[in-house]
Structure formats: C-alpha cells, structure tokens
C-alpha cells in the first residue's frame, strides 16, 4: 500500500505557497506571476504559469487525479498536474496508462517499461534528471521515470546501456518504433510479418498489439509533454531545475507576447470574435456554398496537405543535439518526420478514413486481440473527441464542435488521413497560421516546440484551452498511428 497521501498534499501546498495571489487577477499579481514564470521554470510546465495550473486544476486534483495518479506513482507528477486541468479526460487517460504499464498483460512488466524507454528515446520527447533526451522523440521526462520503473520491475540493468544489449526480440521492434514515431504511413504488412514470422525471436500477435498500443501511447504522450512544456520533476525544495526544454527560444520571445497580458489584446479579442462568427456560419452551413464542385473539395484536401509543408517550424531553431545517453537506444537517429506529400516525390496513397475507421475496424481488431485495451482506448478517444466546456476564450455557451473537428482532422491530414465528408476549406477558415504551425510542430517534431510557438497561437485563450488543444493532438496523433499499424495487421491477417 502506498502511503503517499501526506507527501502529495505537502507537494501541493508547496505549489500553493508559491502562488500567493491565488485566484486574484489584478495587474501587479500578473506581473509577478509572469516574471516568476520567466525567472525559471517552476511548477509543472515551462509554458504555463504555475498559478494557472493550480487555480484551474486544484479542485480536480484533489478529487480525481490526486487519488488515481497516486495509486501507482506515489506522487502527482507534473504531467498529471497539467493533464488534470481536464479531469474528465484525465480519468480515462489514466486508466489506459495504468493498464498498459501496470496491469497483467501479454508483455512482462519490465519489457513494457523498456519499450516505453525506447519510444521516449526514439521519439520526440523528454528531459529529466538533467539530461536532454535525444532519441526518437528524445523525451527524457518519460525516460527517467520509466528507467526507474524498469529496474524496479526486475529489468536487467545491462539493457539500459543501449538497445544493442537488449534481447533480439526487443531490438526487432525498433524499426516499427521508428516508423510509428515519424512516418506511420510507411508501415506495411511486411513489417508485421517480419515481427510475427516464426523463428527464434518471434512476437505473438497479442504481445505485438500491446507493444504497438504502448508505442503509440508513448509517442503521443511525448507530443503532449513537449507541447505543454512539461518540466521534469524537480525536488520539492526547488533545487535547480534541470535544463528547461526551450532555452534558446525563450529569450527570443518578447515579454509582451505573453498571453493574458497582451497589450494588443483588443486585436486578438477581435480574432476570437471573428473565429466564433466563422464557426457559427459554418455550423449553419452558410459558408458551404452549394457551388463547390467535387473537384474543388478534392483539391482542398490536397491544398491543405501541401500547405502543411509550409508550416514547418523554421529551420533556424536550434536543433538539440541528441544526448549520447539516449542515443544508445536509437537506431538511425537521423530518421525523422517527413512531410506526407513532398513536392516532386511520389506520395503514398491517401488513407481514406472511411475505409478503416477506429470505431468499426480498429476497435474490432483490438477488441479481439487485446480486449481490455480496446475498451479503454475507445473510451479515451471518445473522451478526448467529445470533451468540451462550450467556452471559447472569454465566451461561454459556444458549440465548439466545428473547431474541434477542424483541429482533429487537420492533425489527421498532416498524417495523410482524409475524411471524404470533410471540407478542408474549414481548416483554413478556423485555424490561424500560428496554430497550424504549433500543431504541426507538436505532432511531427515535438522536440522543436518552443515557448514562443505556444504563446503565439490563440493569444486570448486560456491555458487550459491550449492544453485542450494538446489533448486533441495527443489523441489524434495516437489514433492516426494506431490506424496505420492496425491496418497493416489487418492486411497481414487477411
């Protein structure tokens, strides 16, 4: 049994002490807060002022995640604090997370953590314990915690020296890990075949499914970690926090760009109004002129796809050099996201969402091979997709479904998944360019996310709404990768 309650409360109090203003919204308070936020990352996120998190998340923390998250980890980690801003979603997220890593399943516990390490290292995500993660997603935040767990569950410390020390069977996973992380559309049934073909180091289908779900889960989680600038767990006494994820860009971000504090607030407030107006019009299907020919609709998707090429984060952003500690888990470190449609290149065929949907096909397959996982995944996707508070920035009572769908479909579009029944012109009308840059970056190159990007989009929106965007990102990305992987398995099976 875990007796971590008091510890957690103390930690919370620690945060709260740090936020004297509490709920106050007065000017000086904000300034203080802001300066503090910039002085050094403290609190759960580098992007979000700690008071913000606590103000909005405090109750939910106490009620929901305090208990659930504590259950396994013994403390509320920063990830949980930030995600706890949306307790409804967090509950289902946590259930799946727990199932994947801690409940009985086809894979041994230590293996699961090792896979998580591989992922986090091989993907775009992590920094913890003072080392910059630099593997696939380079997420040291996740790596640190999984390393500890790995050893705790009886993993062989040798393996941590690098992928080459791990058993052959695990090493075979690295190819598909790489693809899932960056270009899931390249996964073919041959990859599945290679893993499943009988031999010495064969995966069983059940094991593979769990591994795949785990892989995609961790990949998308690293998107979230970077997207929200989750800080590594510091000590309670505020010892020098490990290197912030975004040092270079932070300086470059002018203070006036900070949200909620923006002197150009009027302008952006107008943006919000305009956005809402467009949403409303779309909802009434006024903008959907009947004249739009099918060809036009067709080209809009292509346009969106190719336009996403342009919203690549600028190249001048310092590329963090991979940390050697993590590189040992990565094979082919130069492999990265490549745009689905590159000019000149022969694009792989577009994935038609209607031909392989999660609800019909993906779920049915997973349900067969990994029943508990299928159920929880389904609930999690549902929770994320339908999560809404009917608010936009300062307005409430708004039906945001159009906006949410635009974000979701845009992410899928970036991964080459097309919905026949969606007019991709809506994406252009609803998502401003900064938001697109942010989404594209977090989904495809999470390690390049900067605080500046975070601040630039939706300047008048609340932080919790930005976190909401990140949740959509997480889930849409996971679903996209999972769909590609499951489709490959289906093809293998038929």
């Amino acid at each position: 049994m875990i007796v971590a309650d008091s510890e957690c409360r103390a930690e919370l109090k620690d945060y709260l002490r740090f936020a004297p203003g509490g709920v106050g919204d007065s000017g000086p308070g904000e300034e203080q807060r802001e300066s503090r936020a910039r002085r050094g990352p403290r609190g759960p996120s580098a992007f979000i002022p700690v008071e913000e998190v606590l103000r909005e998340g405090a109750e939910s923390l106490e009620q929901h995640l305090g208990l659930e998250a504590l259950m396994s980890s013994g403390r509320v980690d920063n990830l949980a604090v930030v995600m706890g801003l949306h307790p409804d979603y967090f509950t289902s997220f946590w259930r799946l997370h727990y199932l994947l890593l801690h409940t009985d399943g086809p894979l041994a516990s230590s293996w699961r953590h090792y896979i998580a390490i591989m992922v986090s290292l091989s993907g775009p995500d992590t920094w913890r314990g003072g080392f910059v993660a630099a593997a696939r997603h380079q997420c040291s935040y996740l790596v640190g915690s999984h390393m500890a767990e790995f050893l705790q569950t009886g993993g062989d410390p040798e393996w941590l020296l690098g992928l080459h020390r791990a058993p052959e069977k695990l090493r075979k996973l690295s190819e598909i890990n790489k693809l899932l992380a960056h270009r899931p559309w390249l996964i073919t049934k041959e990859h599945i075949q290679a893993l499943l073909k009988t031999g010495e180091h064969t995966w069983s289908l059940a094991e593979l499914i769990q591994a795949l779900v785990l892989l995609t889960h961790c990949h998308s989680l690293s998107s979230f970690v970077f997207g929200c600038g989750i800080l590594p767990e510091g000590d309670a006494d505020g010892s020098p926090a490990p290197q912030a994820p975004t040092p270079p860009s932070e300086q470059s971000s002018p203070p006036s760009r900070d949200p909620l504090n923006n002197s150009g607030g009027f302008e952006s407030a107008r943006d919000v109004e305009a956005l809402m107006e467009r949403m409303q019009q779309l909802q009434e299907s006024l903008l959907r002129d009947e004249g739009t020919s099918q060809e036009e609709m067709e080209s809009r998707f292509e346009l969106e796809k190719s336009e996403s090429l342009l919203v690549t984060p600028s190249a001048d952003i310092l590329e963090p050099s991979p940390h050697p500690d993590m590189l040992c888990f990565v094979e082919d470190p130069t492999f990265g996201y490549e745009d689905f449609t590159r000019r000149g290149a022969q694009a792989p065929p577009t994935f038609r969402a209607q031909d392989y949907t999660w609800e019909d096909h993906g779920y049915s397959l997973i349900q067969r091979l990994y029943p508990e996982g299928g159920q929880l995944l389904d609930e999690k996707f549902q929770a994320a997709y339908s999560l809404t508070y009917n608010t936009i920035a300062m307005h409430s009572g708004v039906d945001t479904s159009v906006l949410r769908r635009a974000i979701w479909n845009y992410i899928h579009c970036v991964f080459g998944i097309r919905y026949d029944d969606y007019d991709y012109g809506e994406v252009n009308q609803l998502l401003e360019r900064n938001l697109k840059v942010y989404i594209k970056t977090v989904a495809c190159y999470p390690e390049k996310t900067t605080r500046r990007m975070y601040n630039l989009f939706w300047r008048h929106f609340r932080h919790s709404e930005k976190v909401h965007v990140n949740l959509l990102l997480l889930e849409a990305r996971m679903q996209a990768a999972l769909l590609y992987a499951l489709r490959a398995i289906t093809r293998y099976m038929t």
Binding site: M1, I2, V3, D5, Q63, H64, L67, E68, L70, M71, D104, M276, M279, Q280, Q281, Q283, E284, S285, L286, E290, Q294, E295, M297, E298, R352, Q354, D355, E359, D360, H361, Y363, S364, L365, Q367, R368, D378, E379, Q382, S386, N390, G397, V398, D399, T400, S401, V402, D420, D421, Y422, T490, M493, T494
Partner: protein, 920 residues
C-alpha cells in the same frame, strides 16, 4: 449525449409517454392522427397518391398492396450455381433488383450492375462514368428499389445521397443529388411500397426522408431529437400535432427570438427548409447545449407497418420512428454495447427486428409488446456488419462481420451457438449480403473487400454442425460424471447394460430430461449423469491428507513421522510406510528418537489398495552388485554386504509387499548371516539369473515363528540392535520373520541396518522411482509432498519439467477442492520458478466503499466519491490500512489484532451493533 455505451444491452427502453398519447399501434389511432392534417401531410410526404386521410383502413390497404407485390415476385423459379466473379475494386455494398436477375455492386471506386446468369455474372452496366471520378461516386451503401426496376439510390462517403434512373437514355444515369448531410451517409433505404420515398441515415446523426419528386428532404429525424425536442417545442409555445405545421411555427419563433440571427436566417436558401434545423440549437443559442447527436448506422423501413422505420446508432441505441413525426421517436432502447451496425425487419413476423453490433452479437427483438423484448441472442466471433433474414425460413438469418472473420453465417436464432450454414468463399471481409429473391431461401449473394462478387447456394454451404462433436463429457467436483450425446446414440446404447466405469466410483445411470428443443432429431441430445455412490470412493482422503500433512517448518524426521501418522490414520498404509522409509533413509539414526519406531510400519497388504510393482528386483540387482563390490573392497566386507543387500530388498519389498510378504528379506538376511552362501549371494546379482532370487533361498528352511507376534517391541530392544555393529542372526530372524501384521518387524531390521553409514545419495534413484510411481498412480499429492519435504535431497534427481508438472497438477487439484491455503503453501514451498510465481499474479483485491457501495478505485481506505475513510477499525477507531478483518454478518471490523483481541474477551461486535460476531 444521452446514454453513452451503457454496459448491457438488456433493452432498457425509454418510453416517452407523451408520444404514446398520440400514437398507438392500432389503425384507429392512425386515423385519428390523419384527421387533423392528413390532407396536408399526404402530398408533402408523397407517401401515396391516394388521399389516405379518408381511407378508413389505411394500414390494411398498404398491407394489401404489399402482399400483392410480393406474390407477384414469387412466380419465377431461380436456377444457378455457386459462382463468383472478380470485381475491379473492393465492394462496400450490394443490392438485388426485384427481378432477381441483376445485382448492383457499389464501393469506393466501383459502381456496376451485373446480370446473374445461369453459369456466371455478366457485367451489364458501369454507372461510374465521367472523366474524373467524383467523391459522389464513392459509395458507402446502395439500394435498389423493390418496386421500380429502374430506380437506385447510393449513399456517398462525402455525405451525398444520389438517385439513379436506369431509364435515362444518356450514358450518365444520375438522377438526383441530395447534399443535405454534412457527413458520410451510412445507409439509404427505399420505402417498401411507396415509389418515391427514400430514407437516409448519416454519420452526422440525422436521418432524412426524401420525396424523389422534390429536390430536397421532406423531413429530418435527429438521433438527439428525443433530448432536444421537448424543450424546443416548449420554447415555440405550442405542441404541434404534425411536423408540417410545427415546422412553420417554429421557424417564425426562432427568427424573432434571435434578432441578430435574422439575417443569417433569411439568407439561408431553400435547402434550409429541412425540419431538423430548428430542433437542433445552434452554438450561440443561449441555454444548455444539446449534446452531439449520435451517428446513425442503419435505417430500415418496417415491412409490415406502413409508417414505421427503425434506426440504429453508434452508441448502442435503436430507435423506432413514425415517418410522420420527426420531432421525436416512438421508442428508444439500448440494444447493444457499442455501435449497432445493422438491423433488419423480419419479412413475415410483424415487429421482429434483428440487430447486429460491434459487441459481436445478433439480437432479435419483439417490438409488438409494450417494451422491446429480446427474444434471441446469437453470439458470433466478430463484430456484426450486416444481418439479413432468410426468406421463407422463419428463424434463419444471415450475418457477415466487419473485421477479421471473412465467412458468411446463416444462423438459426433458436440455436445460437452453432451456425446452421457457413459460406467460406471470400478471402477478405464480406461487406454486403443479399438474398437473391424475397421468396427463395437458397440463393445468397455477397460482395467483399477482396473484390469479388459471389453467389452462394445453400446446398453448397458447409455445415459446422456436421463437424461438431456432439458428445460432451465433464467431471463434477465430487466425482460426478456428466455425459451428453446424441439421443440416437444413447438410445442404441440403452439396450445394453449401463457402463459400470471405474470400480472405485460405483455409479448409477440416470437419465435427465432433454430440454425441449426445436431441433428434434437433428440436435436433441441426452444428458446422462453418473453419480458417485454417496460416501463411497470419495476424495475425502485427499482433502484430509492435504489439510493435515506437514510440509515444512520442522525437522525432516518429524515431518516424515507426522505424515506417516496422518496417512495411517486415513488407512493409507502404503503411503504411511513410504513416509517411514523416507525417514529412515534420510535421517541420521543417531538423531532419531527410537521410540517412534515401533509403530511405524504397517503392512501394505492389509490396506487393500490395488498395488503395482513399479520396479522389480531385476532392475535393481546389477546396481546392487556393483555397490557391493565397492563396499567389499573397502574392507568391511561381510556384514556390509549383507546389510546392503537386505536394505535394498527391503525397499523393493516395500513396493512389492503383496507378492511375498516379509519372508524374502528375512531369507537374505539369515542366509547371509549364517555364512557359506556368501559367494552365491554376491554372484547372484552379478550373474545371469537375477530374475528371482527368492527361489535360490528355500523358504522352508526357516520355519515361521509366530510366537514373536506377541512380543512387545520395547525401545531398549531396538536400541540394542541399533548399537550392535553386527546384527545377530537370531535377532534378525526374529524380526524379519514376523508375520504380516507385525507392527515392527521390517523396520527394526532396517533401522539396525542403517547403521552402516550408507550415504542417502545412494537411494536417490529409488526415491525418484518411487515418486514417479506415485505420480503415475495418480497420487500426485504424495509425489509433491515428498518432493517438498525432502527438498534438496531429491530435487536434483528429477528433472525440472516433471517437477513443475507435478506441482501444477497438485495445485490444480487443491484449487478444485478449494483448498486455497494448502495450495498457496505448496506454491510458496515450491522451488520451481514457474510455480512460485503463480501467487504473484492477480494479487489485486477490489473493495467497495462501506458507505456508498461504490468500488474504491484508488486506495483501499478512502473512497473517492464520498470522501470518507471507508475502513475504520471498530476497536481503535483509526483507519485500517493493512489487514482488515470484518464480520460477514454485520460487516463491522478493524485491525486484525484488535478484533482478535476483542473477540477473545467478548462475543459481541465491537461496534456495538449487537451482532454476535465469530472469529474463525
């Protein structure tokens, strides 16, 4: 959004009372409705050309019309064979023309009509024309009108509904385009008797009814209307009787109520006349948001009820609608856990609806009753994508699945476990099935993702029933044996004498009645139960032994003695003797309390169990011989040799008692002591004829001395023997010649013999064989117990896998007898890794909060919901975080120690509830 994924599809139905006020199923009520506005409704809906407001028997008229249609179709005789043809692309849906001679196949990149000929499919028409394929042609569903051979409708993945008129002279047969749905249209359906009515169901949560003579929908049904509807009506200030009227009124009010929206409203083109819009509040409307409506997966017009159609939803609901009332559904119930992919009305039985869902079930509902009643449930192995009733077979339906499983099954719903027929032609999932003719049960058409179109003949179907093994056999917990077999088989058998079976389990034959089944002759089976004779031949000994054996925690000698005692008390003398032998073999004699010896031997012969020779002297002899030589060379030749041989034989004898009794060892011993035959003795094992050493030593030479029987075996006596390095011939003689029921004879000898410092290793082989012997006898309990007790001493002699096998068998047995504690002890004591990790798995214990009765998901002592500490100790009033013990009578409890202490002094519950608690 209403009920999401309610976990059981028990048909929890939400009946709307107000709705029922307006609508009952009787024709009389229908007339009452139509009096109000029938004349207005009829042309608008285009339901019929007749003025049905005046028609007193409207429903009957419709039925009459329908029956005429069906009989008209019934005339021709179909012929054909099982065949398939390759399509260019995967199919998504198929539909058959009413003449049963053509089939249309639609998919993302295919839309063709094939003629079904005797021997093959012939492509007749490609409807996919135009240079650049439009998304309008990417079909999710297709349907052919059952009245009009020229009329087709498709549902496109981009949300467009298209109708096709084959009668058009041009190459492009496209007739009308409805672009009212915002998302993929999953299903289109023509009214079975009306020529112009088309219904569509879409992912956006709306169903729309189109009159093909108009260019937009006549009415819109929202999956969410049941939620949003009533409030909207209240806002509009009137409860309309008919949708046509209500729509007008509502639109007016809507515009007034939201001034700023007026412009937007007025710019709406005519398409906005769809009635669903006002029901569905826009984002900016104040007031609570209507939840997002659930995607519609299937819509089907009832075949028997003119105005009724059913729709199924992604959240597991099924709704029943009256086509004239778009404001709210007639009834709604949760049919499945997860999306309901399909439904089909029974062609003959009014009100029977079959639904299939992602939860792998097909359910048949009876809609005629007050509440939808689940009549049948068929469990398939994969999500059910389509379901179609088989014509002319009241209880048959065909299904195909969404994923993984490529076969088409035809089920008899009354026999939900084995499909009646199975078609295995497709190599990828089947996406569309259709019976070729509404009155011919033998032709089934199917389209598949593997790009093929098939015609299946029922007579060519494989019948899983034939392959199924119709016999079942199962042992009950107490040794009862149930046996089910085809009745014919049993009937043939019954002439003979009932099978008597294992003689340890006397049985009698008992016929139980055959549950009334509709499959008389085909699937009826007889169940026979053989019961063990009460009290006789039970497994009592097993349970007792398991509970009383001591396996660890004491010196080996004590364990052996204890277990021997247990075995003897249960009348298992052979086992008892084995334990004793083990003690003798493995315990240094100096440490053994000799007092125990005198009662440690029982003769196996008296226990009456069937015995077997697991090994015989033949096998042992060579080994003994070599040992003997070894010993001899060391120098203490004579006595050692003797001792060795006799102890060896002793052991042999132990498993061999029944044959010769105790005479043999005595012979050896005495013969040896008396000298002379020494060489013979040594040669004997070595040389040619070890077969039967008994005959070498004539038994007659040593008359039995029965008087010894009565000699009280004093400890001193034995001690003497133990101390003397040489056993005197007479003493040995006395001991070993004791008759069968002597209690100490053999043992005293062997004990004496043991003095010779033989390494216990020497017996390893024998013990191993002994364990194998018991295990093969079926007494795995003995094998495991010995294994545990002896531990390191024998483990190395037995290979890991065998050990593991024994352990798991024993643990399995223990768990069947619910001896959890013993089984856990065994798991703990086992040294095999695979076994000892057995109790590491599933160690979670779920508890419910004692206040709110909800499961406590996070920690065992604080409830997340009521935020109270659930498990308080009734004695010290602190939270219990460790072992919590509670009374099952009054459910009070607390710390284990506290409660134990309390109940020592008092028998009442410490909480003061007055319950007399008992701690056991």
């Amino acid at each position: 959004m209403g009920k999401k994924r309610t976990t059981s599809g028990e048909g929890r139905e939400r009946q709307r009372l107000p709705a029922r006020r307006f609508r009952t199923t009787s024709p009389a009520a229908l007339r009452a409705d139509s009096v109000d506005g029938g004349s207005l409704l009829a042309p608008l809906l285009g339901l019929t050309d007749r003025a049905f407001s005046d028609c007193p028997d409207l429903a009957d008229g419709a039925m009459e019309k329908m029956s005429r249609v069906t009989t008209a179709l019934g005339g021709s005789v179909l012929t054909g064979r099982t065949m398939h043809c390759h399509l260019d692309a995967p199919a998504n849906a198929i539909s058959v023309c009413r003449d049963a001679a053509q089939v249309v196949v639609a998919g993302r990149s295919i839309f063709k009509i094939y003629a079904i000929e005797e021997e093959q499919f012939v492509e007749k028409l490609n409807l996919r024309v135009g240079r650049k394929p439009s998304l309008n042609l990417s079909c999710a569903d297709v349907v052919w009108h059952q009245m009009d051979e020229n009329l087709l409708a498709t549902a496109a993945t981009n949300g467009v509904v298209v109708t096709w008129n084959l009668g058009r002279p041009s190459r492009n047969k496209q007739d009308q385009l409805f672009t009212e749905h915002k998302r993929t249209v999953n299903k289109v359906c023509f009214h079975p008797t009306e020529a112009h009515v088309l219904l569509s169901g879409s992912q956006d949560g709306f169903m729309k009814c189109f009159d093909l003579r108009r260019k937009d929908s006549v009415s819109t049904f929202s999956g969410e209307a049941t939620e949003a509807g009533p409030r909207e009506w209240a806002m509009a200030g009137c409860v309309p009787i008919l949708p046509v009227l209500s729509c007008r009124i509502l639109r007016l009010h809507h515009s007034f109520a939201h001034g700023p929206m007026q412009d937007a409203e007025s710019t709406a083109n005519d398409a906005r006349e769809s009635w669903g819009c006002p029901l569905y509040p826009l984002g900016l409307c104040s007031g609570p948001q209507a939840g997002q409506s659930e995607s519609v997966r299937d819509v089907q017009f009832s075949i028997r009820d003119y105005f009724t159609f059913a729709s199924t939803f992604e959240n597991g609901n099924v709704q029943l609608w009256d086509i004239r009332r778009p404001d709210r559904c007639e009834r709604m119930f949760t049919a499945h856990n997860g999306p309901v992919f399909c439904c089909d009305w029974h062609p003959e039985d009014r009100g029977w609806l079959a639904t299939g869902g992602r939860d792998k079930m097909v359910k048949v509902w009876d809609m005629t009753t007050h509440r939808a009643k689940e009549m049948h449930c068929v469990q398939t192995i994969a999500s059910v994508a389509r379901v179609k009733w088989r014509p002319e077979c009241r209880h048959h339906l065909a299904t195909c699945s969404m994923m993984v499983d490529h076969n088409i099954y035809v089920w008899d719903v009354r026999r939900p476990f084995v499909p009646a027929a199975m078609f295995e032609e497709h190599r990828d999932v089947t996406t569309g099935i259709a019976w070729r003719h509404p009155h011919d049960p033998s032709f089934l058409l199917s389209g598949s993702k593997d790009s093929s179109l098939c015609q299946h003949l029922f007579r060519d179907a494989s019948q899983p029933v034939e392959r199924a093994n119709p016999e079942g056999l199962c042992y009950g917990l107490f040794g009862d044996l149930a046996f089910a077999a085809k009745e014919s088989l049993v009937a043939a058998e019954s002439g003979r004498k009932p099978y008597t079976g294992d003689r340890r389990h006397p049985i009698f034959f008992k016929r139980k009645l055959d549950p009334a089944e509709p499959f008389a002759g085909l699937a009826s089976s007889a169940l026979s139960v053989f019961e063990t004779e009460p009290g006789g031949g039970g497994m009592r000994w097993f349970v007792d032994t398991a509970e009383r054996y001591a396996l660890a925690g004491r010196p080996l000698a004590e364990l052996c003695d204890h277990n021997a005692k247990v075995a003897r008390e249960l009348g298992r003398n052979q086992v008892a003797q084995t334990w004793t032998m083990l003690r003798i073999i493995y315990c240094s004699p100096g440490l053994v309390p000799t007092a125990n010896l005198n009662h440690s031997v029982g003769k196996g012969g008296s226990c009456g169990l069937p015995l077997m020779n697991s090994f015989n002297l033949k096998d042992m002899a060579p080994g003994l011989g070599s040992e003997t030589r070894l010993d001899r060379s060391k120098g203490d030749a004579r006595s050692d040799t003797v001792l060795l041989d006799s102890s060896a034989t002793l052991i042999t004898n132990e498993d061999n008692e029944e044959t010769e009794g105790s005479d043999v060892p005595a012979d050896y011993l005495l013969g040896d002591v008396e000298g002379e035959e020494d060489e013979l003795y040594l040669l004997d094992p070595e040389h040619a004829h070890p077969e039967d050493p008994e005959c070498v030593l004539p038994q007659e030479a040593f008359p039995l001395r029965h008087e010894i029987v009565d000699t009280p075996p004093g400890p001193e006596h034995l001690q003497d023997k133990a101390d003397s390095p040489h056993v005197s011939g007479s003493e040995a003689d006395v001991a070993s010649l004791a008759p069968v029921d002597s209690s100490f004879s053999l043992l005293s000898v062997s004990h004496a013999l043991y003095d010779s410092r033989l390494p216990p290793d020497f017996f390893g082989v024998l013990v191993r064989d002994m364990l194998h012997f018991y295990a093969e006898q079926g007494d795995v309990q003995m094998a495991v117990s010995v294994l545990i007790v002896l531990g390191e001493r024998v483990r190395k002699d037995i290979d890991e896998q065998t050990q593991e096998h024994w352990y798991t068998s024993y643990i399995d047995l223990l768990q069947r007898f619910r001896l959890w504690n013993v089984s856990n002890e065994v798991v703990k004591l086992s040294t095999s890794r695979a076994v000892s990790c057995l109790n590491q798995a599933s160690t979670t214990l779920h508890v419910n909060c004692s206040h709110c009765k909800r499961p406590m998901s996070s920690r065992g002592w604080v409830c997340d919901r009521c935020h109270r500490c659930a498990s308080m100790c009734a004695v010290c009033h602190h939270v219990v975080k460790g072992l919590f013990v509670w009374c099952q009578g009054c459910s009070h409890g607390g710390h284990l120690q506290h409660i134990m202490k309390w109940l020592e002094g008092s028998s009442h519950c410490p909480a003061g509830c007055g319950h007399l608690c008992e701690y056991s």
